[in-house]
């Protein structure tokens, strides 16, 4: 089995999505242990990718490939994993969105990838997401964290509006709000009473870890 787990680990590390899916499907057809496949196989791959990134060996595209391979394996094993939810370690959930009026996607996507690579369950709502939709997602998904991205000086105001809406809905204290984007800074985060700010995806993960510790 050790070899198979290694293969799973490597499929993620190399970002080989097809292989990851194939290996995950094999677990189902051969009635293997999905939980073990995750913990001993696929997740090791993403952790190793994260380590290589920290060391400067891996670049953003490497991480995106690895995270997508992991996500694909997860999708295949999802129902099987849910059967055993009792014994699994529940991963922390994060809802991500680029605010309304702003169609800049890439920064938020990179944060999502880094979060996935670090074991978060990422719900990426996309770009130009209506404030109401974000509020609805917070209610339905009940994430530990909601991350709001704004690339424009003109759209960062929505970060403030969303926090106000969370307050009005009485759910502000159920979720940590983190903000980011080129014009955003710590001062702004303090001013709008966000829980945290980060200017890059790596420190965003550290921030999320701290906020949910």
């Amino acid at each position: 089995m050790a070899d198979l787990y290694d293969e799973m680990r490597n499929s993620v590390l190399e970002g080989d999505e097809e292989l990851a899916i194939e290996l995950a499907e094999k677990v189902l057809t051969e009635k293997g242990n999905a939980m073990m496949a995750m913990n001993e196989g696929f997740l090791n791959g993403i952790q190793e990718a994260g380590r290589l990134f920290e060391e400067g060996e891996y670049f953003l595209p490497d991480l995106i490939f690895a995270a997508d391979a992991l996500k694909s394996a997860l999708r295949v094993l999802d129902s099987e994993l849910k059967k055993n939810e009792g014994e699994s370690v529940k991963s922390k959930k994060i809802v991500l969105a680029t605010v309304q009026g702003d169609i800049h996607d890439i920064g938020k996507t990179i944060v999502g990838t880094m979060m996935t690579a670090n074991g978060y369950e990422v719900h990426d709502l996309g770009a130009d997401v209506k404030n109401e939709e974000i509020i609805r997602a917070v209610k339905e998904i009940k994430p530990e964290i909601v991350g709001l991205s704004a690339l424009l000086t003109t759209t960062m105001e929505e970060q403030k509006n969303i926090i106000t809406m969370l307050e009005e809905e009485g759910i502000r204290n159920t979720v940590k709000v983190i903000v980011g984007g080129a014009p955003v800074n710590q001062n702004w985060a303090d001013k709008i009473k966000a829980d945290g700010y980060s200017d890059n995806a790596i420190s965003a993960v550290k921030l999320a870890d701290e906020l949910t510790a």
Partner: protein
């Protein structure tokens, strides 16, 4: 001859042009504005209405390019500063939409406020090559809704040069036109003099922003020039070769040209570019990179190939502070554009990937621009400059200081004398208090901002503009 530098051969320009046409035909662009889609469909484009994706046939692009004006003048409130394009030299424009300022009084970086927009305009008024003023920062101390109008009004009140900004929503257009009318007197004059132009960013890859496109289309009704700024980032929002990223940027530009010419045939457009690469470790857009400079230089050539006026991003840096990295990157991202003969370079005054403004840097950039222009002017080999008679009369062993030609040359464009760079002897320099380029620039900033406002508006015009500002504050959300 003039000194030239080009990133692309003529053959490569044609290849990229064809690649862009192929992209527009086979991939298309997303244009989420119904009015634009209707115009495109009527013009022969294939529309996927659900996805708002448009395939634009090459004939349509050719037709649009055909009716795009080859020359026009960006008017200034003070006609002395009118800027005619194509230009025989490369001018400078301020680059917009930063968030911070390095306060010239404290030297510390802080959030920008509306007063900085006013001060920037006043400093820019004195930058020799500065012809187009785009308010370089978005102030934090005014609400988002009226912010753009307040910026534009503040720029007009503090500088008599051509003002350029974005129109982000349909509502803003009327305010901008009202401001221009207050200055020029009538709508005909606004259309004729063109003292305001707008920048228009496409959104990479191959998208247009709904509100900004709607607003900018509306603005073309007044024949206000539009600077088209595609900015795909190689490897993230664009493909990972410089070549293909340029093809995408160019396709985005061509799609914008097509839409605006369908909306208002013959409307003046400026070919621009702000594409680049990213740091593949953190995703940050890199402006001071050599690969960015190469792509910008290539886009300048594409614009010239289409015979359009060109304003290309340049004189850029990713440095977080003034100093060596900033100046090296700024020169390296400016010189190729000037040597390529673009009409203007936008980027002066900003550091930190265009997020932070410095007045001192604006003046230093002004000097970089002058140096680059002198380089571009090249070596004049002509009968007028053939001083064989001087050589003959001085003969071996003499000197040329006492020649009439020398005396004349000293005051001619043969020699460029910098204002901020120091050319003293060491002891002279010590006596001057060991000035640096920065300290000289700082002194000049203090002098400008403590002096009187140059070329002010008449009190009655200023009053009208202030009323427009108040109305914008009350009505724009």
């Amino acid at each position: 001859m003039k000194m030239n530098a080009y990133a692309l051969s003529d053959e490569e320009i044609r290849i990229i042009h064809n690649d862009s046409l192929q992209i527009l035909e086979e991939v298309g662009v997303r244009i989420p504005v119904e009015k634009a889609l209707e115009l495109l469909e009527a013009g022969g484009a294939k529309i996927d209405w659900e996805k708002k994706n448009v395939s634009i046939p090459r004939e349509m692009v050719a037709k649009a390019l055909d009716i795009t004006p080859k020359e026009f003048t960006l008017g200034a409130r003070n006609p002395e500063f009118d800027f005619a394009m194509p230009s025989s030299y490369t001018a400078f424009t301020l680059d917009g939409a930063g968030a911070n300022v390095i306060d010239y009084r404290t030297g510390k970086r802080r959030e920008a406020v509306l007063q900085d927009v006013a001060d920037a305009a006043r400093v820019f008024e004195e930058v020799e090559l500065g012809k187009v003023l785009w308010s370089p920062v978005v102030p934090y101390d005014v609400p988002g809704g009226p912010c753009g109008i307040l910026n534009t009004a503040t720029s007009f009140m503090n500088s008599s040069k051509h003002v350029q900004d974005e129109v982000k929503t349909l509502d803003e257009v009327q305010y901008v036109i009202e401001i221009a009318k207050a200055i020029l007197g009538s709508e005909e004059e606004v259309i004729k003099r063109k003292i305001y132009s707008a920048t228009y960013c496409t959104v990479a890859p191959l998208c247009h922003d709904e509100e900004m496109l709607e607003a900018t289309m509306e603005l073309t009704k007044y024949k206000a020039p539009v600077l088209i700024l595609p900015m795909p980032a190689c490897g993230s929002t664009g493909p990972a070769s410089l070549y293909s990223n340029i093809a995408v940027a160019n396709a985005e530009a061509l799609s914008a040209i097509t839409v605006f010419q369908l909306m208002t045939p013959g409307t003046p457009l400026i070919f621009g570019a702000a594409l680049g690469i990213i740091n593949m470790r953190n995703g940050i857009f890199l402006e001071g990179a050599m690969e960015t400079a190469l792509q910008l230089s290539a886009m300048g050539q594409m614009g010239k190939y289409y015979g359009m006026p060109t304003i290309i991003a340049g004189c850029l840096t990713d440095a977080k502070e003034l100093g060596m990295q900033a100046d090296i990157e700024k020169v390296m991202t400016c010189l190729p554009l000037v040597l390529g003969g673009v009409d203007a370079v936008n980027g002066a005054g900003l550091i930190e990937s265009s997020m932070t403004m410095s007045f001192e840097q604006m003046l230093i950039d002004g000097e970089i621009g002058l140096m680059c222009n002198r380089m571009s002017a090249g070596i004049e080999v002509s009968d007028e400059k053939n001083f064989f008679m001087d050589i003959k009369e001085v003969g071996p062993g003499g000197h040329f200081l006492k020649r009439k030609n020398t005396r004349t040359a000293v005051r001619s464009s043969e020699f460029f004398t910098p204002e901020l760079a120091n050319r003293s002897t060491y002891s002279e320099w010590l006596k001057l208090g060991s000035p640096s380029m920065f300290s000289e620039a700082h002194k000049k900033v203090e002098k400008i901002l403590s002096g009187e406002l140059k070329n002010p508006l008449s009190p009655s015009t200023e009053k009208v503009i202030k009323e427009i500002m108040e109305e914008a504050k009350a009505k724009l959300r």
